[in-house]
Symmetry: C2
Subunit: 117 residues, 2 copies
């Protein structure tokens, strides 16, 4: 799971390598972003993050697990995220991710977040 | 689970019966509301909802399950909420709830949501 989160922060957040999302989200994952309807499927999720990272001009992302609880063959994680922008802003968010295994790797199957302020 | 959601909509949303939250949330539940840090424990959650329902002047709430997935001895639900205010506004939100059983009843153990707009 740490590898997957590291992929998101190092590849997607810092390098804008959107293709790395193949290794972060399950094929039929769902994201529930603030200010938009739910988005289903990895292709649509890639489009969302491409636009969000460019639109917010994100410089980097950090993720910190607050709690990870085993639930059958899945895991429910509560976490804290910090997004920094190239303009020097920092946004603190919190999230819940429902993790599942796909092709032997732990991935985000359901991902919902919101901002603390 | 439907009974629990009905309790929230009929007792908490419509009648502002905050004590009914004892039957909705587990004792050590966590909520992750937009615009605020995570809140832990049913007592604090009651304080949050007392203030939120009064502050937004909520008239009613509807909850609709989009997907409920069994995860071990728990359930992960994705849902859609509609809040109406006495001023006639409607706010559409989406949520993820991690359900657990407590004292033989299904309750919300982790509850995170955000608005669609």
């Amino acid at each position: 799971m740490r590898q997957t989160n590291d992929l998101f922060t190092s590849e997607v957040g810092a390098k804008r390598n959107i293709e790395a999302l193949d290794r972060v989200y399950t094929a039929n994952a769902r994201i529930l972003p603030p200010g938009a309807p739910m988005i289903e499927g990895r292709a649509q999720i890639k489009t969302f993050w491409t636009q969000a990272i460019a639109g917010l001009d994100i410089k980097g992302v950090t993720l910190a697990t607050v709690q990870a609880e085993v639930a059958g063959d899945s895991v429910v994680e509560i976490g804290r995220a910090e997004l920094t922008t190239n303009a020097g802003q920092t946004v603190v968010a919190k999230y819940v991710v429902h993790w599942k295994q796909e092709d032997g790797a732990w991935k985000w199957h359901t991902d919902i977040w919101n901002m603390n302020q």
